[in-house]
Structures are given as structure tokens and as C-alpha cells.
């Protein structure tokens, strides 16, 4: 490539390729957002393979952490896209509860077909995501605040509505609804009798999101919108549309988790999903996506979710008091942020 320099007065400083090339492999590795997550995944797996022993390595042990990873990962992937696009969504946790309750009320309490409940819940999620995005884009308020508001509204309305209509906070026996068996096969079956199908959903979403992020115009616009919305707008990127669509994706991911859980547990609870938004954000940050936007990947957060799953199940299998689980995660989060900051400084300052 360097022999293409045909311009008559190429500046001499730029031709010093042999000096720059020496750092290029290291810098290319360091500039990968997934680097920390890959190293972390391997380290955590080896750690529990040794400490938790054979229980961690069996098929059921593997499924245990993969299933946890899948449900966090399904959320973490669109959350990562949204964060790359420069925004937050704190409402997805309570969105899970709300979507699950819509399915349960329609299919359980009112006897509609299960798929009707799923469909209405999906539309509801898309509308909430659209409104989140619209408010953020219009008011230019921080999405942290806007979606914090939505989170509380959803939580309150879900509990208020459900109790008002049924007097309950948990609605069960969804398996009597028409079409439940088909939904169960798609959202909740165990492949080979062991592995939850949610793992397949997770992997499919990772593949799709990676393709969108790296190989479509929308992906490029996402990076641009988060990297510098003003500059992107000057170049003709429809920043508002990109952000609203990303908010709709995170809400739809919450709906998918709600559907998977309603199909698996055959019930819905108003409090289900509470706090999941933070788990998704932790997985995303461990995966190397910057809180400030413009930088990140899909693979990284997927691995972040995997670390999450391995830690949560590995601790139980190893017989450690699971009270320590959150402390471990919090420590990982801070380590990951420190690593990310270091990488960003390397990227930003190497001249």
C-alpha cells in the first residue's frame, strides 16, 4: 500500500512507515473493543473449571450458565448498539415485566390465544421504544433521565393495572391458552433435552446485530450518531431516525425475554425483569462498549453476558455463598471500565 504514494510532494514525515509499522499489530489488537472481554471470558472459564470442577463442565452445568448468558445477552446486544449510538435505556427491565403481564393478562386472564398476547406485547414494546426515542431526540434531554422516567412509569402501570384488573401480582397457568404449545416450542424448548432454545435466539441476535453494525449503512450511522451526532448530522446522517430505531430494538429485546420467560415458566410476574437493565449495561461495558458512545461491538457484550452467566452459575456450582456474586460482578465492571479507558486513551492519543 505504501508504494501507492504517487503525489509529487508527499510529506517526508508520512513515509516513515517502518517506524509506524512496528506498533501496528499491537495497536490493532488494542483497538479491538472485544479484547478485554475475550481475555475475561477465557480467564473466568478456566477459573471455574478449576474451582468448581466437573459440575461446571457437564452439559447441565454448561446449559446453566449459557441460559443465564442468553437472557442477559439478548438484552445486552441491542443495549450495546444503543450505547454505541450514544444513548441509554434504563426502561428495559420493567419493560420485561410489562410485556410479560400483557401476555399473561390477554392469554391467561382473558382467554385470548397465546400468540395474540405475544403480538400485542410486541406492538406495545415497539411503541414504548418509539416514544423513548422520540422524547430523547425532541427534548435533547439525557436518555438516562428519560428512560429512568419510563422505567418507573412502566413499573407503576404494570403493578397498578394488573392488581386493578385481577387483584393479583402473578398470573399463572398460561399453558392452557390456545397456541401455547407452539410458542413453547419456539421460545422455551430444550434442545437435546438439555440446552435451552434461548441460547439459539441469543446467538442469532448476535449474528444479526454484528452484521448490521459492521456491514450496513445503519451500522455506520450508529457509530456516527454516537461518536459525534453534530458531525454526523452535518454529513447527512438521519441521527434522529437511527436513535429512535435503536430504542425500539432495545424494547423489542425486552419483549423477547418476556416471551421466553412467560413460555418457560407458564406464568408472569409484575416484578419480573426488575434490575435487568443494569445487568445488560454491565455486560455491555465488560464487553468494551464505551458509555459515551461511538465505540463498541456486539461480540464484546455477548461475551460480557457469557462472563455474567459463568460467574452467576459457577459460584453456585463451586458451593460459594452466592451472596458474593454481586461483589464479584461489581469488581469486574470497574476493572472493565478501567481497561476501556486505557484503550480509549491509547486510541485517542497515539499520534
Amino acid at each position: 500500500m505504501s508504494n501507492q504514494v504517487t503525489a509529487p510532494q508527499a510529506p517526508p514525515g508520512l513515509l516513515a512507515d517502518e517506524r509506524l509499522r512496528r506498533t501496528s499489530l499491537l495497536s490493532r489488537l488494542l483497538s479491538r473493543p472485544e479484547l478485554g472481554a475475550v481475555a475475561g471470558t477465557i480467564a473466568v472459564w478456566i477459573f471455574f473449571a478449576i474451582v468448581a470442577g466437573s459440575g461446571f463442565l457437564t452439559a447441565s452445568g454448561t446449559n446453566a450458565y449459557l441460559q443465564v448468558a442468553a437472557e442477559i445477552g439478548i438484552l445486552a446486544v441491542p443495549v450495546s448498539l444503543l450505547m454505541i449510538g450514544g444513548e441509554f435505556d434504563l426502561s428495559i427491565g420493567t419493560m420485561i415485566g410489562a410485556a410479560g403481564m400483557i401476555i399473561a393478562l390477554l392469554a391467561g386472564t382473558y382467554g385470548y390465544p397465546f400468540w395474540f398476547g405475544i403480538g400485542i406485547a410486541a406492538i406495545f414494546a415497539l411503541v414504548v421504544g418509539f416514544l423513548n426515542g422520540l422524547i430523547v431526540v425532541w427534548t435533547r434531554l439525557p436518555s438516562f433521565i428519560v428512560t429512568l422516567g419510563t422505567q418507573f412509569i412502566l413499573a407503576g402501570v404494570t403493578i397498578g393495572m394488573t392488581r386493578h384488573l385481577t387483584g393479583l401480582t402473578t398470573i399463572g397457568q398460561l399453558d392452557v391458552a390456545q397456541g401455547f404449545a407452539a410458542a413453547h416450542a419456539i421460545f422455551a424448548t430444550k434442545l437435546g433435552g438439555v440446552y435451552a432454545i434461548s441460547i439459539v435466539w441469543w446467538l442469532a441476535i448476535v449474528a444479526l446485530a454484528t452484521w448490521v453494525l459492521l456491514r450496513t449503512r445503519f451500522g455506520n450511522w450508529t457509530y456516527g450518531a454516537g461518536g459525534n451526532a453534530e458531525a454526523a448530522r452535518n454529513l447527512g446522517v438521519p441521527v434522529a431516525r437511527v436513535k429512535i430505531l435503536l430504542f425500539m430494538c432495545t424494547a423489542l429485546a425486552a419483549w423477547l425475554v418476556a416471551t421466553i420467560e412467560a413460555s418457560s415458566f407458564k406464568n408472569s410476574d409484575v416484578l419480573r425483569g426488575t434490575g435487568r437493565e443494569f445487568e445488560a449495561i454491565i455486560a455491555t461495558v465488560i464487553g468494551g462498549t464505551l458509555l459515551t458512545g461511538g465505540y463498541g461491538s456486539v461480540i464484546g457484550p455477548a461475551l460480557g453476558a457469557l462472563i455474567f452467566g459463568m460467574v452467576s452459575q459457577g459460584i453456585v456450582i463451586a458451593g460459594v455463598d452466592s451472596d458474593w456474586y454481586k461483589a464479584f460482578l461489581g469488581g469486574m465492571l470497574i476493572l472493565a471500565v478501567l481497561l476501556n479507558n486505557y484503550i480509549r486513551r491509547r486510541v485517542g492519543e497515539r499520534r
Binding site: 501507492q4 503525489a7 512507515d17 490493532r28 483497538s31 456491514r215 449503512r217 459525534n228 458531525a231 486510541v347
Partner: protein
């Protein structure tokens, strides 16, 4: 008009803009022809940025004519100006540091292949084009997927200029492209300013550094407190007639520096400081 041949690409006549009671730009006339570098000089608050924001479609002038290719225009947005081939490279908004060079280069204008829903950003073609365009400008990049943040400030500005030229800019408005740069880096950018000119662009080069302007400029318009102090040509250059005067007066670097720095004010200041020091 008393032009000898060269028709201006863009031309403004008696353009003015006020913000409330502040007269930001008053009665300024200037023009740019293809293949020339027109330097717009002025201290902070001289009205440089207001003027270029009018040229680039961010603001609409309150009065005066804005003519592009001989036709009067009124731009409603920067996109509108861009569609007429007028591209602005802002100092701080030129590039998104964490995005790769190729992704930055094509942001908003990504080449695609295949059809929806499989339509995808043609990364290979983007990389090839970027490499070729940058090579033409004399920048050799090691890896087009490296983040723009790893480029030097001068290279970043240069890539932004290359992008504007690639996407068909005929008039390039460069907002202080050298002001945050060291001597060497500024040299990199100035080289690309000349290259853009040689490729037939009309360049409006905004700066408050007369030394940089002198290195690349063909003509110099000096702004002071929202008004034009006149347009000049280089003293050794063959005389180029200017619209607003039968013949543009010539100027030497020393005179340019002195006008820019506010020679009289500077003399007063040095007098004052001497008084303080004594």
C-alpha cells in the same frame, strides 16, 4: 464586470447579518473562482465564522446577494449548500475520532451492494477508494480500518479535505484548518490545500495566521469587526482584477501581518506595556 475570463464559482455582494443588536457581518463582498485559494483573515470576533456559516447554509443572510454559478441562491441547510458543491470542513467537527478512516470517509454516503434486505455497506470498495484518494493527496495510511483518532491533527484535516473533494466539492470552505496544529502539521494541511486547488477547487481558507495564509493564498480578504478591510493580491503575483475594485491592490506579507495584528493597536499596546514595565 471587469473580469478577464474566470467566472466566479461563488460570489457574495454586500452581504450582512445581525444577531439582535450585534452587527456580526456588514456589507461584505467577495468571490472565489476555480483553482484559487481565497484567504479570509481576521481576529476573533471579526465575523469570519458568521460569514462562512452563511456561505455554507447554516445561516441565511439578512441582506445582500449570494450567487452560485451566476445564479442567485438561498440555502436552507448545509445539505443544500453541499448539493451545490459547497463543502465546509470544520476544525473540530471534521472527523469522528473513534471511527475508522474508511467509515469516517463514507459516513452518510456509504457505497452499498446487493439489494434490500441484504443490502450491505461495501467495505472492500470503501477501503479501496479511501486508499486511492488518500494516495492521490499524498497520505499513505497503514490501515484504513485504524481509528481516525490515531491520525495526527494535520492528517485528520487532510482526510476531511480529501473526502470533501471526493464527494464533488467545487468550493471548499476550510474553517481554521491549521489553527490548532503545530508548524509541521500545519504544513501537511497547507500542502493539501494547494493540492485541492490544483484539482480545480475554489478554496476559501479561513485563518487568523497570516503566515499560513501567505504560503497558499492567491487573494486575501481581511475582516475586522464585521467589516471588510479590502481584498488584496500577493505583491509579486500577476495582477488579478477583483470584482469590488478595478484592480486589487497588492499586499506584502509584512503589510498583511500588520493589518491582521492591528498594527496600530499593537503599537499602542507595546507603548502601554512599556509604560507599565517602567
Amino acid at each position: 464586470m471587469s473580469d478577464n475570463g474566470a467566472k466566479p464559482l461563488i460570489e457574495v455582494e454586500s452581504i450582512s447579518k445581525t444577531f439582535g443588536s450585534v452587527l456580526a457581518v456588514q456589507d461584505i463582498s467577495m468571490k472565489v473562482t476555480a483553482g484559487e485559494v481565497m484567504c479570509l483573515l481576521g481576529d476573533n470576533g471579526a465575523g469570519k465564522s458568521t460569514l462562512i456559516k452563511m456561505l455554507s447554509g447554516v445561516y441565511q443572510p439578512d441582506s445582500g446577494r449570494y450567487v452560485v454559478d451566476g445564479r442567485q441562491v438561498s440555502f436552507s441547510s448545509p445539505r443544500d449548500a453541499l448539493a451545490h458543491g459547497i463543502a465546509t470542513v470544520y476544525q473540530d467537527l471534521a472527523m469522528i475520532p473513534l471511527m475508522s478512516i474508511s467509515r469516517n470517509f463514507f459516513l452518510g454516503e456509504e457505497p452499498t451492494k446487493w439489494i434490500w434486505p441484504l443490502r450491505r455497506f461495501d467495505v472492500a470498495r470503501a477501503d479501496a477508494i479511501v486508499r486511492k484518494e488518500l494516495a492521490q493527496m499524498g497520505i499513505s495510511v497503514r490501515d484504513t480500518s485504524q481509528p481516525v483518532g490515531t491520525l495526527s491533527g494535520g492528517e485528520r484535516q487532510s482526510v476531511a479535505i480529501a473526502r470533501a473533494v471526493y464527494f464533488g466539492a467545487r468550493v471548499l470552505i476550510l474553517d481554521e484548518p491549521t489553527s490548532a496544529l503545530g508548524v509541521k502539521q500545519a504544513g501537511v494541511v497547507l500542502r493539501y490545500v494547494v493540492q485541492a486547488k490544483q484539482r480545480g477547487c475554489g478554496v476559501i481558507f479561513i485563518t487568523h495566521n497570516p503566515h499560513h495564509a501567505w504560503l497558499v493564498g492567491d487573494r486575501f480578504t481581511i475582516l475586522n469587526r464585521g467589516r471588510s478591510l479590502g481584498t488584496y493580491t500577493r505583491s509579486q503575483a500577476p495582477e488579478i482584477p477583483v470584482v469590488e475594485r478595478p484592480a486589487a491592490p497588492e499586499i506584502t506579507l509584512e503589510e498583511l501581518v500588520s493589518m491582521m495584528a492591528g498594527g496600530r493597536e499593537l503599537a499602542e499596546l507595546s507603548h502601554e506595556l512599556k509604560g507599565v514595565g517602567a
